[in-house]
Structure formats: C-alpha cells, structure tokens
Symmetry: C2
Amino acid sequence: MDRRQQKTRKAIFEAFTKLLGEKRYSNITVQDIIDKANIGRSTFYAHFETKDELLKALCTDIFRHIFSDSPASEKTHDFSKSNGGLQEKLTHILHHLSDSRQEIKSILGCESGELFMVNFKEYLCVLFEKYLNEIKTQAPKEFVLNYLSGSFSETVRWWIVEKNEYRPCEIAEYFISFIPSEKNA
Amino acid sequence: MDRRQQKTRKAIFEAFTKLLGEKRYSNITVQDIIDKANIGRSTFYAHFETKDELLKALCTDIFRHIFSDSPASEKTHDFSKSNGGLQEKLTHILHHLSDSRQEIKSILGCESGELFMVNFKEYLCVLFEKYLNEIKTQAPKEFVLNYLSGSFSETVRWWIVEKNEYRPCEIAEYFISFIPSEKNA
DNA sequence: ACGATACCGCACATATTGTTTGATATTATT
DNA sequence: AATAATATCAAACAATATGTGCGGTATCGT
C-alpha cells in the first residue's frame, strides 16, 4: 500500500475517533472529518464511499486486533480448564478490549455502537458455538447461542463504558459463573 | 389536547413507522416524513424539534404500553412463584412486545434500535433490582443487574427480529432457567 | 529518472435543514 | 351562534452537507 494512502487513512481514522469522542456519530459530517484530518474532499471519497463505510472499516480494524491471535491451542473445549478453555479465551479478549478502551468507548457512546456490537456478537457466536455441548440446558441451540453472545457483549459494553475497577480475569470469572454447567452445579 | 394535534401526531407516527419498515433510520429525512404524513413542513417542527425527538417519543409511547399494567400484585418477589413472580412478569412483558412486534421490529432493524434498547434496559433494571437477592452469585450487584437486563433485552431483540415460533412463556422459561438460583441448582 | 497515482483545491448541482411569514381553517369557549 | 385562540398550511429563505468532476501538483514505487 502506498505510503500516501497509509498516511491519509490513518489521518482519517484518527480524526474520526477524535470526533466520536466529541459528538454523536450522526452529528459528525464528512466535512468535520476532512477538516480535522486536514485532507481534501475528494481524497476522503477516494478512500471511503460513505461515513458508514468508514465506521465499518474502523470496527474491522479493531476486531482484527482483538480476535487475531489465540491464547492457546484449540485442543480442549472444556471451558473451565485452565489452558485453552473458554474462561481463558474470554480473559484474553477482555485484555485486548482494554487496550483499545478509549477508542471503543467513543464508538459505543452513540448509535455507532450498534454496528460495533452487531459485529462483536457475530465473532462471539463463532467462539461460543464450540462450547455449546458443555452447557446444561433444555433451551434450543439458537436461543443459547444468542443468549451467550448477547450477555457477554452487553457485559463488555458495560465494562468499557462505565469506568470501573474490575480486571479482565474478574469479569471473565463472573461471566462464566453465570453459565449453567457441571462445574457451576 | 386539540383534535388537530392528535390527528397530526398520529399521522407523523404512522408515516414514521412505515418509513422505518422501508429504509434505515439515518436515511429517513424530515422531508420523507412530512411527505408521507401529508403535512406542512412547519407543522412537523411544531411537534418535534428533531427526528431524534420523534423516535424518542415513539419509544416512550411503546414502553408506556408495555410496562403500564402489572400482571399481578407485587407482594412476592420470588421469581419462580407462579403468581406475581419474575417469570410471570417477563411472560407478560413478552406478550405486550409481541403485540407491537412489527412496529418494534422496524425500529430494531437499524440504528434506531440503539435508543429502543437503551430505554428498554433501563426499565428492565428497575424490574430486576427487586429480585436481586434471590440470585445465587458472588458477582457484584452492578454486574448482575447489567447482566440480567443485557441478556434479557438481547433475548427479546433476537426473538422479535428473527421470525421464530417460540411463545412468550417459552422464552421466559428458558431465560429464567439460565439464572442461578435455588430452584435452578 | 520516469511513469503511475494519490493528493489538492476548487467548483458545481442537488438536497436537507430549520426558520419565518401571512393567510386559512379548525377548535374550544362563552 | 359568535368569538377568540391556535393549529395548520404554502411558500420562501439562508445555511449547510453531499457527492462528483476537473486539471494541476507532489509523491511514490521501480
């Protein structure tokens, strides 16, 4: 990728995230972005068709960072096992989320959070699906999968937005304790 | 309230919900609304300052309907008790939600869903707070309250948006079964 | 050094917004 | 039935945002 493109793209992302900290997503105009990023109008549209595409690209970047590396091998899907288990994986994700906290908090602060959360839930569904058979329940799979991704994503939202003192491992532990399993019986 | 106002307000609401079924919230313009509602420009602004205010008013109307009447007395806060318990209350709420399904589905279909969900969660927090002491957990109250309102609201979202065959009482039962309590031990 | 291309600045037509004006029609009240 | 209040309307308005197109310039990769 051309250095100029990298530079411009980065400038747009930075301007955008700054603006998200200042005002609501829907109130941010392309004009605002190109002013703060100090780029030409046509340059912006050469990179992103719309403001929505920009947001989507930003989220994609963040998720690539968060879900990139697995903390351990996928050998075991026993979610309370110390190594490669669900709890460890969630803790790992929470650490990554914590790294980008300010950025994510800005996104979650308004309607743009919707897109972030939808994306996040999709990633989580893939993750939780592997552990479905560990869960003690009569409820149908689709219910359970939505319940888990929904509850965890909402937990993350709360954890990120509200300034609280809990550490990633604590959140993961609390969350796991709410899942009906052999261990939590 | 003046009959003219009632008529206009109703026309605006109807036009707005119709439009929400056709296109995304952010792509709906005030122009669209006044065209479909067949009212004058200044008339719209006499009723609502912005499109956001209109959405907020619509949500308020819906929630007033959903949370208006209690199914039973508030005597007992034992949530698995058959009468006045949490499960019955949730079932009742789900029935109301089902009544306004199409309307709510339109709202949830795009960014406007964010506002709806935030509002919904606030109402749910008030409800769940009464049952906090029934829950077996080591997690702090603020975590639990957010977990419950988050997981239930996400369950509702899934239930409303995805066309599925589950009845209100089934959803309530599945949800309750995921809460750690004496009964679910 | 050179061809490719990303950027810029500017301009343009189009669309939306929010406000104002004065006239008209409907309402609530007496 | 008459009257005063007011909700609505149509039209016009400036201000702003959008998306696109153009030639010229600077920077890039090779």
